[in-house]
Assembly symmetry: C2
Homo-oligomer: 338 residues x 2
């Protein structure tokens, strides 16, 4: 039996037998190192021509994105980053300049969050492979996990979903951008090349109700907004209703850039399934969610709520289209009039 016969998910299931079940299943692993502090660890492996490519990614951007993805996982756990390690496997004919520029990009992203590169390994290989492990710390009661969403919680998303996917499209097919003004185009491309891990959101989140204890459930949206909601619901054994018109908020923000290019349906597809926006999807009591969104300003929205019905449903309340059930394996089904 080969890996191709059972796929990544099949192999993961087998390998999870070797890991303690209470530790895995989130964006990062949580370890109780002492009573007051949990250690959070997350790791990513990036392979040339699979996870980054010279066509769409400069070495600086590859470095930035690799770091941003890991710091986003740290943010998604509610943690503050302490450092990263970088394991680098390189062909011997790699240009030294390429490696320096990769590290330059990593450093630029890390410096924003005062996070050092604390070590690494450098080995020879035939394929450029970048392995990053990031670790952070979090107060145990502020740890954000996937399995703690509660019925009635509001679902909050930060940032613009779909922008990274649109930016990638413009990089792959520059001719598509001809009808978009330069500033909007660059904003979309930047969303893809320089995603911002949302560590900035955490102090605002805990400031919503500093004197009361409340649990926030969530994860980042690296694999798409729909995926994040589905993963949280599966882990928490709940469901969700997402309101189509609340997602429209997303469209309004990017409409100037996209209206001449994508149909409303395509924008919704990008919003739900685009991925790599590295935003946060958080579930918390609705009265706190409202304060939170107000504090953040334009850059966040309540898009739905957690329900007891175990499905994740997309509801069109204005046009009264039938509810759609979102799934992990199945893309978005087009609405009649969107």
């Amino acid at each position: 039996m080969k890996v191709s016969d059972i796929g990544e998910q099949g192999l993961l299931k087998i390998l999870q037998r070797f890991c303690p079940s209470e530790i895995i299943g989130d964006d990062g692993a949580v370890l109780n190192v002492d009573r007051d502090r949990n250690l959070v660890v997350t790791t990513d492996v990036l392979v040339d021509n699979i996870h980054f490519s010279e066509i769409t990614t400069s070495p600086e951007d590859a470095g930035w994105r690799a770091v941003a993805a890991n710091l986003s996982d740290i943010a998604a756990m509610g943690a503050s980053p302490l450092g990263i390690t970088v394991g680098l496997a390189l062909p011997i004919d790699t240009q030294v300049d390429w490696v320096e520029r990769l590290y330059q990009g990593m450093s630029e992203c890390l410096q924003k969050y005062n996070t050092p590169i604390v070590g690494g390994d450098l080995v020879r290989s035939h394929i450029t492979t970048i392995s990053i492990t990031a670790f952070g710390q979090v107060y145990p009661n502020r740890c954000i996990r996937r399995h703690t969403a509660k019925i009635g919680d509001a679902i909050v998303v930060t940032g613009i979903h779909g922008a990274s996917r649109a930016g990638l499209e413009l990089l792959l097919n520059p001719e598509l951008g001809e009808t978009i003004n330069e500033a909007d185009k660059q904003a979309l491309i930047l969303a893809h090349q320089r995603p911002q891990p949302r560590l900035d959101v955490l102090p605002i989140l805990w400031d919503v109700s500093p004197d009361s204890e409340f649990t926030v459930s969530g994860m980042d949206s690296s694999d798409g907004l729909a995926d994040a909601v589905l993963q949280i619901c599966r882990a928490s054994n709940v469901g969700a209703v997402l309101e189509l018109q609340k997602l429209e908020w997303q469209k309004i923000l990017v409409s100037e850039a996209l209206k001449n290019w994508l149909t409303p349906t395509q924008i919704l597809e990008y919003t739900l399934y685009g991925g790599e926006d590295f935003e946060l999807v958080l579930c918390l009591p609705s009265e706190l969610a409202e304060i939170f969104v107000k504090k953040i300003g334009d850059n966040a929205a309540i898009i739905g709520k957690i329900t007891s019905n175990p499905q994740v449903i997309l509801r069109d309340q204005i046009n009264k289209n039938p509810d759609q059930v979102l799934t992990l394996n199945q893309g978005f089904q087009h609405f009649n009039n969107s």
Copy 2:
């Protein structure tokens, strides 16, 4: 300019500009997470056909060795392991059985030290690549670093150096083992296939003088015994004298297995430059070193001392051969009569 033009060491020097200098330079990075505890992190990348090979290494052994190398770095920092992450890049035609056996070997080594696999990543690649990051914790005053060796310190080594190298030779050239008895042969091969990280040594070390504060300097001998002494001396700005006859202790322990096969000079070469024994090389006040070695029993020895002369010298006190200066780049020069 290509990586091949400046080599690994040249590239490392460039990349170290991106890391805080006080954190790097040891077997693991040390991070002060709070007043009472330091976090230690270390990472290794292993590439198929470079760091492991089907000829000498079963998947179980590849897994064991990968974990042992990282836990050895944790031990070399004086730390207790908390967990590891595993990043795995695999060709899609990899046998699932191979991956399971790799994890089986990792788990066997980890279980001895109660250390969990806490997370990882699984990606597609054309070359099997294993990235392991291990992390542990240590009381700040018990952290073992390279740069703190003091003039007059005794140099203690644990275990048998050269055994792993001899075991590798027997795996590569089985015909060499024909004159060795089966038990000795298996012991040497096991030293190569299943090295033991010396976490067991640490409680004994701190028990030597539980009520007094003392600093231990050191590292592991993954790149050879000579390399370890040289690295410690370079980092501490000191030198060392190693006594040839103290190293003979090593020969006595393995003599039954090796006497029909290797010359005394070859055994000394393996001892100093063999590598991959994953033992510890420690520098501490000589009166404490003597107690320490007695507590450990046969399995450790004082092989020399730290000096103000910045060279690392191998001294033959019995046969009065001239002193030899050991260097990082240069192999051992044969003595006239050893």
